[in-house]
Amino acid sequence: MDNTAVILARLQFGITLTYHFWFVALTLGLSVLVAVMETLYVFKNKAVYREMAKFWGSLFLVNYVVGVVSGIVQEFQFGMNWSEYSRFVGGVLGVPLAFEALTAFCVEATFIGIWVYGRNVVPRSIHLLSIWLVALASNYSAYWILAANAFMQQPVGYRLEEGYLALVQIKSILLNPYLFYQYIHTVMASFASSGLFVMAVSAFYLLSQQHHKLAVKSFKLGLICAWMAGILTFASGHLYTQYLVKAQPMKVAAMEALWESAESAPFIVVALIDEEQQRNKAEISLTGMLSVLAANHSQARIAGMKEVQEQFAALHGAGNYIPPVLLLFWSFRFKVAVGLLIILVTSLSLWYFKKHQLQVQRLLLYGVIWTLPLVYLSHLAGWLISEVGRQPWLVYGLQLTEQGISRNVPVSHLWITLISFNGIYAIMAGAAIFFMRRRILIGPEQPGD
């Protein structure tokens, strides 16, 4: 079987997913923050809150447009590049997607228009209600989308019928334990990055001594959000990984570069990984630490990649069931490092904020700004672990990735769309960043519309 088509299709899906998520992450958190600002404005009736809501709202909107558009690409891609997969899982996986469109996107798209254009048309209460509905609906829609992803990670509530999957119970898809961990982790990470986004822009204002009042108030709001969400992301990530030890032992073993099964498994801090020889050439490790982290007990047995490989081979036939170890290992380390950095930066900010010394801590403010791009990269790392870690499975235990692609799409067409979509994404991101940057430079005092 020719591999090019699979690689191209995967690349396209991965890029679209990451791209989409980068914008979605900000949508999820910022929508809630803007809603809070609007609420403060309505109840406290201070001009600064109105200004805040308008300013952050305008940034939110630029971001929102790109998020929605790339989401449509995402939906179409299942059928375009992954038609075999769509036929196979459509009856099950389509249901959460259909529900997302019917119950969440519906509300979101109806009320975003009212919020944007209705400031002087509808009463204040309905205007406030509309941004809250947008915020809630977008976070609610994430649940359905992640339900679809969780199904791919851990299929539940299905039955195999004539070679296709058929739905047995929608309830089990929605109560998939995998979904529970994934949802909290993903949404909290989104909130952390949104909070940090608000903090970073406010930090820029504080550093350049502009718009002081708005910057301080926004910084505070972003800080509370990022601090709490940062800690929760880290905690939920820990529980998520513990769950993965049971649900997807291969993923955990790969991201910890654990080749051999071990009782009292070591936590490998850094390693030189040799994927060919299936060993680590050199490693710095803490004995027993992985067992403690993963199973709360220093003597707990953690399955290594070789053992899981044998199990899979016995169950599904010969083949390589080990995902790219190097990528997962370093992605995971990067992600954890960024997670710690977020907690450090936000905690320090909180400390100095309470002491009213924030503006003097120029280094910290620069730190906040430079953490932001790292957070975006850690989103990428997170999805790499989640999706590449599932390889070679497309639907865990049911369908291999190479079985899922469209057999009737020629490779040349894949090239055309891959290149064109990436061009479009680049232009789109360029435009979005350009307009956001300019809005930030103009500052909040300039009325938006």
Partner: protein, 406 residues
């Protein structure tokens, strides 16, 4: 009722809803480049749908998701088969969204022009492609025994489908014109009406050719009820032109709505229960039973749709009513002026503040400020002194004297 029929019917409602709503959107998007003369007029055109745009897209996204869930085999076959056509559709939709949303962010003429053309092509391509794709359902796609699209995407292009694409483009433009006439004031409306009247014969002509080709070239054309509906839509479209001439815009809009509704439903009715004809062998055609998911899936999403679609319709009617007003260039100008006026008031307030502070400084004999002010300003603020040749020192001396006198 049969779960498959119910689910497919509801899917049909979603798709038709999308075509009807985005139909006039796309129409307006095309008309704004042709019909509007100034940027302000374009803005009026776009403002007629701007608050609603995202709401209309919901119909497409939902229809796509329902097709994926309910009829994955149709979804998989068509989406992978019509690969490049769908890619163009997506690219056009992206272009359109970006052009509409980012247009107002930059005032320079070249950016506006770029966005205007973005909106134009982003509207024309989907209109054309939808006609092409839907007509392909009748004409048949090369679906093989595995229910897969076998063959090149270019097989979707034929005289018949291109005529259908052109027809949809024209219908959407007429539909858009009909909607605009309801939403803009008479001065703009008159011009749109003239354009629409000139466009109507082409639309009707194209429609007649499309029907003739359908009857001659496709199996579905032999289906009497569908052919009847199609023939009826020609008369309705003719009626649309008549109503437009009579200035009965609501009826005109209703006519284009019914024409689109009739054409789309005729396509689905004529094939029922087949959805996509296979051009290779009738046995391979995709119908709503063979291509469907299991009964549980169909039931669940049908129920959800039965609840949501009425709510969606109600919500969008409410929203449309909220934003329903006749837009005009004058109104937009007024809005802009209002905006500028507010800016000026802000400036005036700032100035007042400065003056207030300066005159206070003057009163407290802050010579630093006095020296920096020009003689004219001093005069305005101080008022009493002889403006001709007084130096700063004299002004100060004056001031002191005045003070002492007081």
């Amino acid at each position: 009722m049969d779960a498959n029929i119910l689910c497919f019917g509801l899917f049909g409602i979603l798709l038709t809803g999308y075509l009807l709503l985005e139909g006039f959107d796309y129409g307006i998007g095309m008309l704004q480049t042709i019909c509007a003369k100034t940027e302000l007029e374009r803005q009026v055109f776009l403002n007629t749908f701007a608050p609603m745009r995202e709401g209309y897209e919901v119909w497409l996204v939902t229809a796509g998701a329902v097709l994926f869930a309910g009829f994955p085999i149709i979804y998989a076959a068509l989406f992978s088969g019509l690969y490049l056509a769908l890619f163009l559709l997506l690219a056009a939709l992206i272009l359109r969204s970006l052009a509409v949303e980012f247009r107002q962010h930059e005032k320079s003429q070249s950016w506006r022009t770029l966005c205007n053309w973005g909106v134009f092509f982003g509207s024309m391509l989907p209109a054309f492609l939808w006609g092409l794709i839907l007509a392909g359902f009748l004409k048949g796609y090369p679906i093989n025994a595995d229910f897969e699209y076998s063959g090149s995407v270019f097989e979707a292009f034929s005289i018949y489908t291109v005529v259908a694409g052109t027809l949809f483009t024209l219908l959407f433009m007429l539909h858009g014109a009909g909607y605009l006439l309801l939403r803009v004031d008479t001065s703009l409306g008159e011009r749109i009406k003239q354009y629409a009247l000139r466009l109507y014969p082409f639309g009707i002509g194209c429609h007649i050719i499309f029907i003739l080709l359908t009857v001659m070239q496709t199996q579905a054309g032999q289906n009497m009820p569908a052919a009847g509906i199609l023939a009826l839509t020609v008369f309705i479209l003719g009626g649309g032109r008549y109503f437009l001439q009579q200035d009965r815009y609501w009826l005109g809009f209703l006519a284009t709505t019914l024409t689109l509704l009739g054409s789309v439903s005729a396509i689905f009715i004529s094939l029922f229960p087949v959805v996509v004809v296979s051009s290779l062998h009738p046995e391979y055609s995709l119908d709503i039973y063979r291509a469907a998911s299991g009964p549980v899936t169909l039931q669940i999403i049908s129920r959800a749709m039965l609840v949501v679609i009425p709510l969606l319709v109600a919500g969008q009617i409410w929203k449309a009513a909220l934003f329903w007003r006749r837009l005009s260039v004058a109104g937009l100008e007024l809005q802009n002026e209002n905006h500028q006026f507010k800016q000026r008031i802000k400036l005036a307030q700032a100035l007042e503040d400065c003056l207030d502070k300066t005159s206070k400084a003057l009163r407290s004999r802050d010579s630093q400020i006095i020296n920096k002010l020009s003689a004219k300003t001093r005069q305005v603020l101080w008022g009493k002194q002889d403006q001709s040749q007084q130096t700063d020192e004299q002004a100060l001396a004056d001031k002191r004297r005045n003070k002492e006198e007081n």
